[in-house]
Symmetry: C2
Subunit: 254 residues, 2 copies
Amino acid sequence: MSRDSTSDVVGALAKGLRVLECFRADQPRLSITDVANATGYDRATARRCLLTLVSQGYATHDGKYFALTARALRLGMGALTAMPLPQIVQPWLDQLSQQVGHSASVSILDGTEIVYLARASQRRVMSIGLMPGSRLPAYCTSMGRVLLAALPEAEARGIINASELRPRTPQTLTHPDAIMTRIAEVRRDGFAVIDQEVEMGLRSIAVPLESQGGKVVAAMNLGMAAVHASIDDMVADCLPRMRVVQEGLRRELT
Amino acid sequence: MSRDSTSDVVGALAKGLRVLECFRADQPRLSITDVANATGYDRATARRCLLTLVSQGYATHDGKYFALTARALRLGMGALTAMPLPQIVQPWLDQLSQQVGHSASVSILDGTEIVYLARASQRRVMSIGLMPGSRLPAYCTSMGRVLLAALPEAEARGIINASELRPRTPQTLTHPDAIMTRIAEVRRDGFAVIDQEVEMGLRSIAVPLESQGGKVVAAMNLGMAAVHASIDDMVADCLPRMRVVQEGLRRELT
């Protein structure tokens, strides 16, 4: 195969995957124009990628809008179900969540976002539903700050600088230096607390999950309605139980 | 663009997606040979697709084995988080699961398999961990039988005939006619019961979830250890509560 042809193949696959990524919770149905705008590809390329997804069973097309099918779940879901981490942490999350009566989650970092890998939910306290695969920005979430604190400082700052630092609530920190100061505190304390920076009325506390070798492989948090717990209560009541899970998982995570 | 070049692009994307599908819970790490064998592509094609996934950040390569990254979760997870169904059913599942003390799940059909979209877990009763994105064969699961019963009979038989009918336990039905008879009963009764056909010691009961227009859009089940409930108990205790959820969701699902 000639080099040109190889690079065509590489380019076609790379573009098709970028098009697949355009389908997200806030934009489940997309037109050719939507995809062209989101990716920067010309309409012909966007159209070709979308029609390929349809021909292979990954998307449907109603004439104007495209939407993903159950088959598309085979792609990234394979990645999730192929990861040992969600399987290992789920029983711990179920137990922790029942003990404290709040929702417990585990996530990892992907670019400027955290991705939920596992979750045990008591009752919904956030306006948005969270489930494995859901994403939130790292800069303003307790798990995000824990994961950023585990990185070399320059790398964490790079991610903060690449983030869209939006005041989601009046309490959201949006100045990079202020966020980096908070991250340094998280590194020192070994846990992160978020007080209504993601959504008013919501507090959360997160700790890193380490492997046997001491590497931070994920973050775990408890999220609760602010009316149910002050920051001090949250630290006093939840942190000791989270430390027990952290210790238990350190033995299971390689 | 010439027709040849277009079909190259289509082919490259289609092949790359097939390669992505090879990564599953039971085979998270794959070599070039593994992928070539699983897809039927030659080694050069498998290698080119895998290296493209690495260059685009969707996979890692340790020299021999490839594995998917957190970025790969953007692909199919987009499909899951883009679906309104999991968001709508989750609070109902949480409540139902707490009421009855068993795990509640919702799934849809994809080919010969059911795909879990949402789940509320009490304690784990199966040897395998189930989470959104997990898959089980349709022919031997309660949700699978409910979803097959909602299809035209010829279509259901087509799926059964395409399935690998394996005796997962001594109780698994593996004869197509026997399975079709059971599916007809499910269609008549409006629910399906599975007695240790997926795994010994596990029973489950499933009902269809219908939209306002009366279309079956998913199946919901309760799964429990066989020691906790006879079939009669399961129908008497669980079915009425499942009917309530079914009615409630009929108003929410469009």
